[in-house]
């Protein structure tokens, strides 16, 4: 009887394999009025998946808007979205796969430094324009000709935190940071610039995002008695740091970079999130004029959680920027023309402000300082 059962199961399994293969086989497409393709490489599973899914949500919103408005010169925009699973080398292969499809005019995506690094290195060889929701990290990347960044640089975030500290008269900083590239970059720039703003780093501790308790690290920081605490983390680890600090009776003001942006910090840290200052690219409940349209549309689409975070806003911008570039290109579209149009972009969007003629990263205005207040994020005072 069990044998019979397993043979049915085996048959189902083989049918499943066949269906999977059939679905992947490329379909024929019509050339004339065919949609314009944009490739997307997003980390939709693995540790970076939360960022990938935020970006995807923003991309979807923008796509719907653009296509409802008739696309670009009557041609719809089609997204070829691929999951890079938080694996940098897979991301590189997917970039090669997308550049092998002659109809793909540009690539967006890559949700953390490692994947945007490997996609960037690939598109430079394949000569296809690439806009990423990550930050420019180093001089080598600043020289790239096809890769464009939309997230504020870590040096700018560090400076902004230090400016805020100087304004408030805080002198001694305690830093607790995640053992990943963004924590490492944050630490590097805080150390580099602290003295310029009259701030000294009196303690630095590290942790992993999946750790279950940070009171040991925080106790050591508390002993150095800092004026304020910088939590260079992402969720859920960062929210736990906030909670642990309050639980230990640390009353210092706390500041965090964009990786802690979003209502999820308030959901996870609860009372402990109150007052935390974050370097963000959007303030959900107090939008700047350039952000108004996006936030209204977002609130309509998500009535129960109407405040988008920076990553959703930047995802939205990725599509809008590409479309703006496409609109400036005279058909027929070629990758070279699209790349030049992107290079000429002067764009003020929901989540980012760029002038790529000068440099392939966003300008400083991109950053907004926000603060958690009664369960919402408002502009920091």
């Amino acid at each position: 009887m069990t044998h019979h059962h397993s043979s049915i199961a085996r048959r189902h399994f083989i049918a499943f394999v066949a269906a999977t293969v059939a679905a992947i086989t490329p379909q024929a497409y019509a050339q004339s009025n065919a949609p314009i393709k944009i490739g997307a490489i997003l980390d939709q599973s693995g540790p970076v998946a939360p960022l990938g899914q935020f970006t995807r949500a923003g991309i979807d919103m923008a796509l719907k808007e653009v296509n409802a408005a008739g696309g670009v010169r009557g041609r719809q925009i089609e997204l070829v979205s691929l999951n890079s699973e938080s694996k940098p080398d897979l991301a590189a292969s997917l970039a090669v796969r997308l550049s092998g499809d002659a109809d793909v005019m540009a690539i967006i995506g890559g949700n953390f430094a490692s994947s945007s690094n490997s996609i960037g290195a690939t598109v430079e060889k394949q000569a296809i324009a690439y806009i990423t929701p990550t930050a420019l990290l180093n001089d080598a990347q600043a020289k790239w000709k096809y890769s464009y960044f939309t997230l504020a640089e870590f040096s700018d975030m560090a400076k902004q935190i230090l400016v805020y500290a100087q304004k408030k008269g805080y002198k001694k900083a305690g830093l607790i940071r995640v053992e990943r590239e963004y924590g490492e970059q944050g630490s590097k720039f805080l150390h580099q610039f602290a003295a310029q703003y009259g701030v000294t780093l009196v303690a630095e501790e590290r942790g992993a995002d999946g750790d279950r308790d940070f009171t040991a690290q925080l106790t050591k920081i508390r002993q150095a008695n800092p004026d304020f605490l910088v939590v260079w983390f992402a969720n859920p680890g960062g929210s736990l740091v906030l909670k642990n600090a309050r639980q230990l009776g640390m009353t210092q003001p706390m500041m965090a970079p964009i990786s802690m942006d979003g209502s999820v910090t308030i959901k996870l840290a609860g009372q402990a999130a109150e007052g935390v200052v974050i370097t963000s690219q959007i303030a959900g409940s107090e939008p700047l004029p350039r952000q108004k349209a996006f936030i209204d549309a977002y609130a309509k689409a998500h009535p129960d959680a109407p405040e988008p975070n920076s990553f959703e806003a930047v995802g939205y911008d990725l599509v809008k920027m590409t479309v703006e570039a496409l609109k400036k290109v005279d058909p027929p579209y070629t990758r070279a023309k699209v790349r030049d149009a992107i290079n000429a972009l002067d764009y003020q969007g929901a989540g980012t402000v760029v002038k790529y003629k000068n440099r392939n990263g966003p300008s400083e205005e991109t950053l907004v300082m926000i603060q958690a207040s009664k369960g919402h994020f408002v502009l920091a005072k």
Binding site: P50, R206, R212, T215, A216, Q217, T219, S239, V264, L268
Partner: protein, 292 residues
Amino acid sequence: MDLSAALQFVFSGITIGAFYAFVALGVSIVFSSSGIVNFAQGQFVMLGGMVAATLAANAHWPVPVAMLCGVVAAAAGGAVMARLFVLPMLRAGEFPLILVTLGLGVLIEALAVVFWGTDPQMLDSLLKIEPLRVMGATLSSDSITILCVLAIALIAFTQFLRRTRWGRAMRATAIDRDVAASLGINVRAVIVLSFTMAAAFGGLAGALLTPIISTGAQSGFQMTLKAITAAVLGGVASPIGAVAGGLLLGMIEAMSSGYVSSTYQNVIASVVLIVLLFLRPRGLFTALTRQA
């Protein structure tokens, strides 16, 4: 360094350790009755936490009821896993069984991500008691709750093993499957029971831990690895050893973070683990706890 800090490091170690211990207990229950290392154990912790958090946050069920549902959901998952995937592979050997549990872990996580997305979920504390403050060191109320429940669970489980018909059957199955069968014990039922109980303990851990760290659909695998490490450290074949291993691992991490460097806390924990494995390849506490 002063006493208050030292005490806080101990509390930190206990909090982390209780977490590892709880998950490791589930690993040990399955291993000690079937010899299978369940690489999907962390997923039951995740399931318990996610179900409880979803019911409490979205459906506004009372926290204890939501937690109970989390435990039941995890237990049901364990039973289904054992019946549909483990029993048919029982004769295939150790390597394929590990691969099956690994694959199930991947599958459960992938489905959870599709169902819940990747946002971490939060849950209110079960007991709203005051945190314990001793000489400037603080142990949160959630940690106290977990420690108490862990102690109760461990005592209940060892008593179950010692005193009940099915508990004895589990121990016999662990020692020799064929002899157990020859005594009229339904070995397959024992294995399903052990997976169910382990999953229930995992679900309970998940429900109780969510108020502290929150739970995300992708949190399971990392917990599995920590739990197996803890269990191996203490002795995977003994529940008491596994719990002791979990507490020890948490303590090593907190102490190295406190007294050496938070950068190298994992390195230190890993080095200790490797050295202990070289010295005692079967785990630290196995000899002490063979009876239970």
